[in-house]
């Protein structure tokens, strides 16, 4: 091995010699592949033998079997008679909903804190810095325990619910909001909204074209905003409210009806958001700082307004640096949502790799499916972000 690449023997690559780098490369690869395949084969064979010896059932047939247990939060219809496969979907949707909301909130908060860190206001900048340093150096699980066990659990019971706003109840059973129920006029309202949005898109395109052709500016954004607000509002005023609120009513144990946010859900969302926002803030800060001051000064010299500079000069350049690490934070948040199992939020891991695994005992199948789901989510997110990244990267030309 130590004599590798002693140039003289490199030869024509045809002779079969240990000193021929191509031959050696093939041998190395064959050896490593052989070892890996051997290991995989060994594990698979052992597992098969173990399953047979212990008489454990295998296969994915269990997905059609009746689950028989209840789940506290279901976004799609689910009863105890539903199958394990259905329970899997319920868990997956619960994971996705917490991930999507967490991503939106943490990105928002992360941008605010990241910008605040660069503020000229000494107090605000240091406050933001303290937030980042405290939040990101404490394990996420501790964040979740804090929100769940310290903040939300000791809230009063459902019969002594706090009512911060009429119709909104807060107790240790969660946050109960009035549920919007759509009325007949909802269709007209929705059509107006869609019409307004389509109109704005055309308006913006037209104004851009006109600007390119004539150089004249048209306040397209402001007009669009006005369109989107006023057209549906007009429909509302004429046709009446598109929905009414249905308030929760007092049941024998708890309030019934309304929209309920479980304390487990609230704690998970809060913990994930506050923790991930600290990382996003650092990414945003680094991204903005990377845009050299010369760019801003050049824009100012051209007579651009501060907001225009920000929108057209700083942010597009900063985004190119922000997006790749932001992607990995978004992926982290999605994966971290699996900590739900520690505070009993029924996410994919809690429902599927927890209850279903225990009820069926089919560890290999259940864990494999769970891992495959997260791998797919990771893959999809990175594909989407790569696509977005490519679009942003194109703009620099």
């Amino acid at each position: 091995m130590a004599k590798a690449g002693q140039g003289a023997r490199r030869g024509n690559g045809l002779g079969f010699s240990w000193y021929n780098p191509r031959v050696r490369s093939v041998i190395y690869q064959a050896a490593v592949l052989g070892i890996v395949i051997g290991l995989v084969w060994f594990f698979v064979a052992t597992a098969q033998q173990n399953l047979e010896r212990l008489n454990i059932s295998s296969g994915f047939g269990f997905l059609d079997t009746t689950a028989g247990f209840g789940i506290i939060q279901t976004l799609i219809p689910y009863t105890e008679q539903s199958s394990y496969g259905r329970a899997f979907l319920v868990g997956l949707l619960n994971t996705l909903v917490v991930a999507v909301i967490g991503i939106a909130l943490s990105t928002l908060l992360g941008f605010v804190v990241g910008v605040a860190r660069l503020s000229r206001n000494w107090l605000l900048a240091n406050l933001a810095a303290a937030y980042v340093e405290i939040m990101r150096n404490i394990p996420l699980l501790l964040h979740l325990f804090f929100w769940y066990f310290v903040v939300l659990r000791p809230l009063p019971g459902p019969m002594q619910s706090l009512e911060p706003v009429p119709g909104v109840f807060l107790s240790n059973r969660g946050l109960i909001l009035p549920e919007p129920v759509f009325d007949a006029s909802a269709l007209a309202f929705l059509s107006a909204l869609i019409l307004a949005i389509i109109g704005s898109v055309f308006l913006v395109r037209w104004s851009r074209k006109r600007q390119l052709a004539t150089g004249q500016l048209f306040p397209a954004w402001r007009v669009s905003a006005a369109l989107i607000v006023f057209l549906p509002a007009l429909v509302w005023a004429i046709g009446g409210a598109p929905f009414h609120l249905e308030f929760a009513t007092r049941g024998s144990f708890d309030y019934a009806g309304g929209m309920r946010l479980l304390p487990e859900f609230v704690a998970l969302t809060l913990g994930l958001t506050l923790y991930t926002a600290a990382f996003i803030a650092e990414i945003v800060r680094a991204g903005i700082q990377s845009v050299s001051r010369g760019q801003t000064e050049a824009a100012a010299a051209l007579g651009l307004k501060e907001s225009t500079t920000l929108r057209l000069v700083v942010i597009p350049q900063a985004l190119r640096l922000i997006v790749p690490p932001l992607t990995s934070q978004i992926l982290n948040l999605t994966k971290n949502s699996s900590l739900a199992v520690a505070i009993a939020y029924p996410d994919l891991v809690a429902v599927f790799a927890g209850t279903v695994l225990n009820q069926t005992g089919q560890a290999i199948e259940v864990i494999s499916i769970t891992m495959a789901v997260y791998l797919t989510l990771s893959l999809l997110t990175s594909l989407a972000m790569n696509w977005y990244n490519a679009r942003i990267a194109l703009r620099e030309r």
């Binding site: 091995m1 130590a2 004599k3 690449g5 002693q6 490369s25 190395y28 690869q29 064959a30 490593v32 592949l33 594990f43 052992t46 597992a47 010896r53 454990i56 910008v115 660069l118 503020s119 000229r120 206001n121 000494w122 107090l123 605000l124 406050l127 405290i134 990101r136 150096n137 404490i138 394990p139 699980l141 501790l142 325990f145 804090f146 066990f149 310290v150 903005i288 700082q289 845009v291 050299s292 001051r293 801003t296 500079t309 700083v314 994966k335 971290n336 699996s338 900590l339 199992v341 891991v349 790799a353 695994l357 290999i364 864990i367 769970t370 891992m371 997260y374 791998l375 990771s378 893959l379």
Partner: protein
């Protein structure tokens, strides 16, 4: 607001006064917007700091030996809960007569790691080998026992900070060499090896650690031959090590990419083999480049050790939770006290590491700007 000031440093205008009042006017009240931001910040601070200080210091119960001490009305943190359980928090249920073994392991660890961190300290290479090879073996023998003079202590009795450190250090010690090998594999010119490395790395990076731990605790035993039953902690250690080595591989790969190909080619040209060129020339430079990244991976790993409590291993946080359910210490403010204590311990470790990483980063940067 303030966004255009990309440096983040307040600009000093010539001729402005250096008095505190002037400073405040310049940095806090330089305009309407700025004043509003200052007021908002003051409000946030006012909402957070006084209650926090009141709970942890002024209203806190500092002395006492039983829960009754903490049952006074409006009491803050119940520190006697922490004092009374400090042994459990550090050692778990490790037999008290054997705790000296843990202490030796801790002391030896500090004695090796501190010189490692000081850039000026000598014998780095020897120290690294000691830390990566000899120290884990000594720690293993001392902690697990079952040798003459050392009665066995099953891992189910380990707990607290001990387990946190065992998991973190194992992850670090295994992930560094494994991560380097994987990173080299990913940049290898041999397609089969490159593919295998990519699949391995992307697999572990794509799944959450908790599913890895579930896999280690409920699925792995089915893949091992009958009679080979590593205990739960060991299985989780394997899971954590594989998981963190994938992240480490990506960090190391970043470092390798920063080294110009000329370095490797030059090393080969003077007659060094692949491994000689890598170990002697490329890796030392690449690793030095990514020390901050490596430390950041360690910080992540250290925080992630808390997840083992979900599979029934009592790390520091798990031990705090276990002691909280002890009926002798059920006090209303117990949970918050325990969590603040745990948060403080984790924060000190992680913040310390991140400051060290910053320090190394600055050192490296100045080194380049000669």
């Amino acid at each position: 607001m303030g966004m255009e000031d990309v440096s983040g440093r307040p600009r000093m205008k010539p001729g402005t006064s250096r008095s505190p009042l002037g400073w405040a006017r310049r940095n806090l009240f330089s305009g309407v917007g700025n004043t509003v931001l200052t007021l908002v910040s003051v409000y946030i601070l006012w909402m957070v700091i006084p209650p926090l200080l009141d709970f942890t210091i002024f209203s806190a119960v500092w002395t006492g030996t039983t829960r009754e001490a903490c049952l006074v009305p409006d009491a803050g943190a119940c520190w006697p809960f922490v004092w009374a359980n400090i042994d459990q928090f550090i050692y778990g249920r490790y037999p008290p007569s054997e705790i000296w073994r843990v202490n030796i392991v801790f002391a030896l660890g500090i004695a090796t790691i501190v010189p490692m961190l000081i850039p000026a300290a000598p014998a780095k290479r020897f120290n690294l080998i000691f830390l990566l090879v000899v120290y884990p073996l000594i720690a293993l023998v001392l902690l697990a026992g079952d040798r003459p003079g050392l009665p066995p202590v099953p891992t189910s009795e380990w707990g607290g900070l001990l387990v946190t450190l065992v998991v973190a250090v194992t992850g670090i010690v295994v992930s560094l060499p494994l991560g380097i090998v994987l990173a080299l594999g990913r940049r290898s010119s041999m397609p089969a090896i490159r593919m295998l490395s990519i699949v391995f790395i992307e697999f572990w990076r794509g799944v959450p650690l908790i599913t890895v731990l579930f896999m280690a605790s409920v699925m792995l035993p089915l893949f091992l031959p009958e009679g080979l039953n590593p205990d739960n902690l060991l299985r989780c250690l394997v899971g954590v090590a594989l998981f963190s080595s994938a992240y480490m591989a990506e960090v190391v790969r970043g470092g390798l990419q920063a080294i110009p190909a000329g370095q490797y080619e030059a090393a080969r040209a003077v007659g060094l083999g692949y491994w000689q060129a890598m170990i002697g020339v490329v890796l030392p430079q690449a690793l030095r480049h990514v020390i901050p990244g490596i430390v950041n991976t360690f910080i992540g790993l250290f925080k992630d050790t808390t997840l083992v409590l979900i599979v029934g291993i009592f790390d520091l946080l798990g031990q705090v939770r276990a002691q909280l359910s002890d009926p002798n210490w059920t006090v209303p403010q117990g949970a918050l006290t325990g969590y603040i204590f745990a948060a403080l311990v984790f924060w000190v470790f992680c913040f310390g590491m991140s400051q060290y990483s910053n320090f190394m980063e600055r050192r490296l940067n100045t080194g380049h700007e000669r």
